[in-house]
Structures are given as C-alpha cells and as structure tokens.
C-alpha cells in the first residue's frame, strides 16, 4: 500500500499542482501538514481543518474506477477550500491506493480509520473492494461516501454509515434497462448476454426478474467470461432467437467486441448496454458497429458535451489534470466522483460549526434533490442510502458522437 497523495491546504491558499503525477509526488512533502493537532473529541477535526480519507484503486485493473474517484474528489475539495473551506476549516485529504486488491483495501480502510484518524472516507472506487469492506464498514463509525462503483451489496441492506450517489446500483440499473426497452423501445422479444461475474450476474438477474414481473418472456440468455474474445456461439444462438433488442450487461471491452461481432454476424436487433459502456471513448473503440447502439448512463450531461456545466467542469479538469486530459478524460468516473464530491462537501458544511461524524450522517440524510448540473439529483433519508435511482440513455450517432436522449429511467420501487 502506498500513500499517493496527502494534501494539506493552508487557509485561503490552494495548492496548484500541474498534474496528477505531481499530486502523487507531493504526497510525502505534505505529510507534515496533515499532522496538525486534532480535536480531542472528533476524529480528523481540528480548529483549522477536516481530514478526509480518499480510498481507491490507483494501480491494477480496477484503476479505471479509482483514479476517477481521486481526480473528481480532488477538484471538488480544492474548489471548496478555495471558496473558504468548510465553515472556516480547510479540507485535508489522505489518499491511499488499494492496488485493486480487496485485502489491501481492507488494510487501507483500517489505516485511514485507526492511524490517520480521518473524519470520513470518500471511496473506495471499485465494487470488488467495496464488497469486501462490508464487515469493516459495519464495525466502524467512520462515514463512508461512495460515488463510482455500483454493486448493490453495500446498500442492500443499508449500512448506517455508508452512503452512495452517482451510479444506480446494478440491480436498479437492470430494472431500469428492462423498463426502458419495453416502454420506450417497445421491444417484444428481448435477448440478454451477460458477464459470468458478480457485475453481470447482479445486473443480468435484475433484467430477467423485471421482465418476468412484466410478463415478457426472454428470447434467450447467454453468458460470457471476462477474457473471452470470440462470441460467435452466443451470438449465433441470439440471432436465431430473432430478438428486437439485445441487452449486453458487461464491462466495456467485452461489450465492444460483442457489439462488433454481432454486426459482423448480421444481428438486426437494437443493442442496449449498461453504465459501464458509458465511457466517452466507447463508440470509437467499438467502431462503426456502435452507430445506433444505446446504453444507460447515470449522468445529467455528457462530459464531452456543450452544456455549460460540462464545459466548465472540462476546463477545470483539463487545467488541474492535464496528463489525464491527454488520455481522453474527464470521463464517466471523474464526473461521478466530482458530483459525489459536491454532495459530500455540501453535507460537510451542513454538519455544523463543530462537526461530528454523527452530525455529518444526519446532514447527509438531509440531502434532498441535491443538484450538481452534471450528475443526477441526490436524495438521502434516514432509511435511504442510495442517493441516485435514475439514469439517462445515450445513443451513438452515425459519426460515433454520443447523444443524450430525453428519457429519464428510474427504479420506481426505490425508497423515498
């Protein structure tokens, strides 16, 4: 495990680090600042600062989620500090890398709570780590705020200290996709192809269960392993079933290959994907076969779009993280984490002049229809820990640009 960044910010002074790598490189230099005397009463709170832990996978295969978690939170926290901080206190943060490993995620969580004594934790970034942390969440009083990953395991059943907004969970996404293809695409015959892992299983099973509730028979259901490269067998059976819509519930890389091979083999059905296909580069990765495909996306606006909120965020992101911008970002994870960061900051402000972990939880529970202009509205309550239960639909155009459709889909059964 490595400390990747520890940013201490003096009042009224914002550190401008030219790149993501410098943010990482400046970690040790800022350790001294993070050791400011803390209030005896509450972890992570001193007269001048509130210390937050950011946990996420910054290396390894799940870095796709964790780097977005860190980048989005960093911008939200720096903006809050530049605007005067949290009721006079500056946000300090310690970022730990779980290296895409659930055991290391557990160790990092423990370190943030026991050694760094943070006030709250922003993250982790990936479902596999979040799911492994459930016993740790239950054993800790430290509030946890999730804004990137989507496994329902961390909110169903709810854990008092764990809040999530941004992505709908996979069960809700599955329901929303099933509702959308029936109500909006008027599909009569629906096929499903899903990953064999937890992600595909949760989402795929929710689609199947919802179709059953609506008395719509599934034309056929196929599965694939994450490392598969040839989907001819599954797609040939699917084509034989003659569906109107094929729902793909899988990670971006296999989804891209399936979409391409489906067109090569002559599938006529409309292709509908999950949130993980919501990357802005996804259409280009698929190629011309992406034209006309749709997928669910849990954003209010697209990060590459011309909406003023998107333009403003893109400019801030490109200025703050030029080396990530070079990689085609901000992308879905960056925007989700930034939106989550704004909700987190708002609740911190409303946690009072003498914030406690308990008052912060109460403040989060008080968030009602919190808007960021980029992400979908957040609502929590004393019982509700899933802040966003809605999503929008993206359609890939013939020039491979993405267009947001007017439809907003949601899990209507979600608690108020």
């Amino acid at each position: 495990m490595s400390i990747l960044s520890v940013c201490g910010l003096e009042k009224g002074k914002v550190w401008r680090m030219s790149s993501f790598k410098t943010a990482i490189a400046s970690a040790l230099a800022a350790v001294a600042l993070s050791a400011a005397p803390l209030s005896a009463q509450e972890p992570g709170v001193s007269d001048k600062s509130i210390k937050i832990g950011i946990l996420g996978s910054l290396t390894g295969p799940l870095a796709i989620f964790g780097t977005g978690n860190l980048a989005g939170a960093t911008i939200a926290f720096e903006e809050a500090n530049a605007a005067g901080g949290i009721n006079g206190r500056q946000i300090e943060w310690v970022s730990l890398d779980d290296e895409s490993s659930p055991p290391k995620g557990i160790a990092a969580f423990k370190r943030l709570v026991d050694q760094e004594k943070v006030f709250a934790i922003f993250g982790p970034g990936a479902s596999a780590v979040g799911q492994a942390l459930i016993p740790s969440f239950k054993a800790s009083k430290t509030p946890v705020f999730i804004s990137v990953f989507s496994t329902p395991a961390v909110t169903e059943p709810p854990i008092r200290t764990v809040f999530r907004t941004g992505p709908m969970n996979d069960r809700q996404q599955g329901i929303a996709i099933a509702d959308y293809v029936i109500e909006h695409l008027k599909a009569k015959k629906i096929s499903l192809i899903r990953q064999t892992d937890e992600y595909g299983k949760r989402g795929g099973e929710a689609v199947v269960a919802r179709l059953k509730e609506l008395n719509v028979a599934l034309a056929n259901e196929e599965v694939f392993n994450l490392t598969d490269t040839d989907f001819t067998a599954q797609l040939t059976r699917t084509i034989k079933a003659e569906p109107d819509v094929l729902i793909i519930y899988g990670y971006p890389n296999p989804s891209a290959i399936i979409t391409r091979q489906a067109k090569q083999l002559g599938l006529k059905a409309k292709i509908m994907g999950a949130n993980s296909a919501g990357s802005r580069k996804y259409p280009e990765i698929v190629g011309e076969a992406a034209a006309g495909t749709q997928n669910i996306v849990t954003l209010q606006v697209l990060p590459e779009g011309n909406d003023p909120a998107a333009v403003k965020f893109r400019a801030a992101f490109e200025k703050r993280f030029p080396d990530l911008a070079r990689q085609g970002r901000p992308d879905l994870g960056d925007v989700l984490a930034y939106g989550g960061g704004l909700a987190f900051v708002d609740a911190l402000k409303r946690a009072g002049d003498k914030p406690t972990q308990e008052s912060f939880i109460k403040a989060l529970e008080g968030l009602k229809d919190f808007q960021t202009g980029l992400t979908l509205p957040t609502t929590f309550s004393a019982e509700r820990r899933e802040g966003n239960v809605a999503a929008r639909i993206v359609e890939v155009q013939s020039d491979l640009s993405r267009k947001l459709l007017p439809a907003v889909v949601q899990d209507k059964s979600a608690s108020k």
Partner: protein, 288 residues
C-alpha cells in the same frame, strides 16, 4: 451454425498462435519462459498509439516507428535484465520476465490511462459472405500473418546457419562458444526478434481484443497454446493456438459458454498427461 463457429474460432486461435510463437521463440532460443510476453504484445500496440496520438505521426509511420522502438526494447530487455541474470537460476529469469511484464503494464496504465483506446483495423472489419459463412478480412489478416511468421521462423531455424547457431547456443552455450558461436549476440538477436514479433502481434490483435493495459491477459491463452503444441515446436505453437480456439468454440457451443475455459483447460491437462511433450514436441533424452 457449426461452420460459422469454426471459422470464427480460427481467428481466435490465430491470435493465440501469434502469441504462442513468441513464447516458443524465446524459449527455443534462450531457454526462458517469458511470462511478461502478453504485456509486451500490449506494449507493442501502445507504441503505435503513442506515435499516432501524442507525436502526431501517420498510422503507417507510427507502425514503422513502433517496430524500430521494439528493436530497442528487445535489446534493452536483454542487456538490462537477461544478460545480468545470465548466470542466475532459470526461476530467477522467469520471475524477472514476469516483473518486466508488470512494469510495462503499470507504466501503460499510468502514462496512457486505465481506459481502453480505439485502434484501427489493418483491413476491413465488415464481414463478407463466402460459401455460406461470414468472413471478416481483418481477421483473415491475423491468420495470414500468423502463418507467415511461422514459415519465416521455421526457415530461419531449420534452413540457415544462424538458426542452427541459435539452437546450439540454447542447447549448450559452453559448447557453442567453443565452436565459435557468439552466444550473447545470439541471445540479443532472439530478444530483439521476439520483441518485434510482439509488436506485430499487438498491432494485429489490438483492434480485435480492444486495446487496454490489461490486453496482455491474452498471454495466458498464448502460453496454453504453446504448451498444447509442445513448447519448443513452432508449428506446434500455431497448431496449439488453432486447436485451443476450436476447443473453446466447441465447448461454448455444445456444452456451456460459462464453462468453456474450464473444459478447454481440462482437455489441456488431459493432453499433457498423455503426451507431456505436447502435440508436436519431441521427448528429449539426456544421455549420461
């Protein structure tokens, strides 16, 4: 349906074969099993992307640049890692190759980002109907290049004095030195050749598999194909690759898509139990 499944499985098999050829080349030439080879294949494709997206080169120029860069990479791998470890145990060299793969992969994740990148097909990816099955020209290119590489390597090893020198250097480096073979140069050439082959494979398979830092996971399948074919046999690598592709497709069609990896690997274990030398390998006897 079966005809289409078999035709498509040959593409998957050719991908495995191309990577298996690299494994066999390095093992045949230097005795090392390069567990980072899958990552080196990925790195080769990223070299093109770096040239194209960041330096602004045309695609063909970027490909040429990547091939030149991979010559350098091969030389660096040998001179900086494998030459200093020449007297270390085989296990140490294998672990070094694994570490090398991790370094390349995590460098790409950090420098190029964890997300996938678009990568162009060399030929059209639109299918064409031929005799009742759909053929994709871009996939044919992979099959064609795999066979061409096999033929070229086979000719080098079997028909040239350099090839025989390589085999001699690997078989008995002291003996080869005594008869005038410059063993270090031979090993250097093998690593360079394997590095160029990795880049060629990367360029061909990246658009098919989707280019991301984790594309090198396909190395496991290439390794399996190499084992299936007999780890020292070049024709065996290609036959092993195609056989693995077909096995997976048949298992996915007639048994279960979810279990196809399990079934393919179970068959692999069965083959190894019956023929430890693989389908095309020869048992080597050491006379004392």
């Amino acid at each position: 349906m079966l005809a289409q499944v078999l035709v498509s499985s040959i593409t998957a098999g050719a991908v495995y074969a191309l990577i298996a050829l690299g494994f066999v080349l390095i093992h045949k030439g230097t005795g090392v099993v390069h567990f980072g080879y899958g990552d080196q294949v990925t790195f080769g494709a990223y070299l093109v992307l770096i040239g194209q997206a960041f330096i602004g080169l045309r695609f063909d120029v970027a490909v040429a640049g990547a091939l030149v860069a991979s010559v350098l990479l091969g030389a660096i791998i040998y001179l900086a890692f494998m030459w200093p470890l020449r007297n270390a145990s085989l296990l140490a060299r294998i672990i070094a190759s694994l570490a090398l793969g991790t370094v390349l992969r995590e460098f790409l994740r950090s420098y190029m980002g964890p997300n996938a990148w678009p990568f162009p097909f060399l030929l059209s990816s639109t299918s064409v109907p031929v005799g009742g099955v759909l053929i994709v020209p871009a996939n044919l290119a992979i099959v064609g290049v795999a066979i061409a590489v096999l033929v070229a390597l086979y000719l080098i090893f079997d028909r040239t004095i350099y090839g025989k020198a390589i085999l001699a250097a690997c078989e008995n480096s002291t003996g080869a030195s005594l008869v005038g073979v410059h063993v270090s140069t031979v090993f250097l050439l093998i690593w360079i050749l394997a590095s160029v082959l990795a880049t060629v494979a990367g360029i061909l398979v990246a658009p098919l598999l989707t280019l991301s830092p984790d594309m090198g996971l396909i190395g496991i399948k290439g390794f399996t194909a190499a084992v299936l074919g007999g780890f020292n046999s070049l024709p065996g690598a290609v036959a092993g690759g195609i056989a693995l592709g077909i096995l997976e497709a048949l298992a996915g069609t007639y048994v279960s898509s979810a279990l196809k990896d399990m079934i393919s690997y179970a068959i692999l274990i069965a083959v190894i139990l019956v023929r430890p030398q693989g389908l095309f390998g020869e048992l080597t006897l050491k006379k004392v």
